[in-house]
Amino acid sequence: MLTEDATPEAERIKTPYLATFKPRLMDWSAAKVFALKNLRIAIRYPTNFLIWGILPLLWYAPYILMMIAIAGPGTSQSFTELSGFDDFITFSIIAVFVYQYVDKSIWSVGNNFRWEQFSGTLEPLFVTPVPRISILVGAAFSDTLQCTFSATVLLVISSVLFGVSYAITMVAPIVVMLTMMVFALYGFSFMIAGLILVFKDPSVLTELISNITYVLSPITYPLQALPSAARFAAVLVPSTIAIITIRELAITGLFQPLSFLQAFASMLGLVIGFWVLGVLAFRWGEKWTKEKGSMGGF
């Protein structure tokens, strides 16, 4: 009989961890453990770091080759008038680098619980007494580290292949802006994680979000190339302001404090907005799934 083997209620309460346990909004030690667990798994497959530094090149190179076929190698009058930059290859490659973080936040962090489900560890994970958000923060942190490595490999290989260079003196403000974007993306990915808990089928939903985000992001074209309604939507994508600012810094090598502070303030607004939205969406998704009893369902 199960009841005979089960620990009596009174004894369970005496467990030191449970006796001192209080629900918290965020458990940083759980986030750290989860990040380390994910990193340990990632390090077991070292070639993945290299592959993810090369594979995106195969996806973005067709855009650059298409631009060359339409406008000739490197520059076009129309593009310069629209964007203010001479060279569309230099323009695109730095944006591709930044966009890797968006891609990772959608495909990796957003789908984190789905991957746990496929591994058969989702339900055990959900009965642990830690806030779910700390699990997501841990996953997001480990993915940021992996993405930084792969995106840097991609940037170096692309720069060599296409013969482009960027202002290395602007590394500090670029890192600040990237960090802000990554924090905003954490909120964005929590939102996706909530949606995926509800809708399950990760491939289609993720593809939809990923493709819409890609269309709205000014990667191979400037924001001005989008229709006006799409431009407003584009600003709400966490990466848009970061791509524009980082590109400006990396290509021109000029640091303009006022415009940088403006971009920083906008990013701060996005960080707060996306975290609030993301945490709320995830909590709603979790509650809805639990009430429906479909947590482990495919």
């Binding site: 855009y63 298409m66 631009m67 076929a69 289609v204 990667i219």
Partner: protein
Amino acid sequence: MEHEETESFRRMWARAGFRAEAKAAWAIAINIWKIELSYPLSVLWFIVMPFLWFIPMLITGSAVAGGTESAVLNDLVGTRDWVTYIAIGTSIIGLTISIMWGTGFSLRREQNSGTLETLMSTPIGRSTLVWGSMLHNLSHGGLGVILQLGAAIIFFGVTINAWGIFPALGIIALAVIGLQGVAFAVTCIVLLAKQGWMIVEFISSGLLLVAPMSYPLSVLPPILQYVGMASPLTWSVEGFRGFLMNGLAYQGVVQAVLTLVILDMIFFAFGALMFRYTERYVRAKGALEQF
């Protein structure tokens, strides 16, 4: 012993020939359609996918061309209309991905659903499982081509030559043979490496990169141009676009069709042989159901 005497068992065991295999392949294709259509988001994705793939290319092209014509493209391929050139060329992307991924991973999907061994023990040809999936992906991807081209004609002013529609369909038929060879090879990778998606991703992304869908081969580095010329996808795209843009006046028809037929024979024979030996090898090792 008892069930061997039943009529249905005798009929099932006696089934043979092309018609029987075609019926089995059709049943598999319908089964996949039913599964796909039971997910509303999948249906939505299927409808919007061709637009979402094409729109960034259209915006990128407009940003660099500043209009609907390109003098550079005219120098390279003899047409100024870059929108039509790219819209027709990229309309096959969905079909190609659908065949390579959908068909290549068909056995893996059955394995994940726990139905692979059951299917393998039915009295149908092993390759019929792959052909059935291909039939589904052909109809799925084919509808995608029609959707993308239809939208490009209605919304983006793309023009196609009506006389070229039937010959272009003939090119698609030839393309499918070569792509089926690639799909067989992908199936082998999946059977051996189980996950293997990264290898498949490299193969499919590599083939798409060297195919002249949104740019001519001449903009690629020389070594990639040679790789591109050895791919059936390259000649499928060239033939398909050539007929739809120029109709029966398409001048490169002989070169495109002849090369495509030769590459089809090589790719299909190589892929089918690979599948035959890999499937036997995996069964002999008892690794069919391993993850």
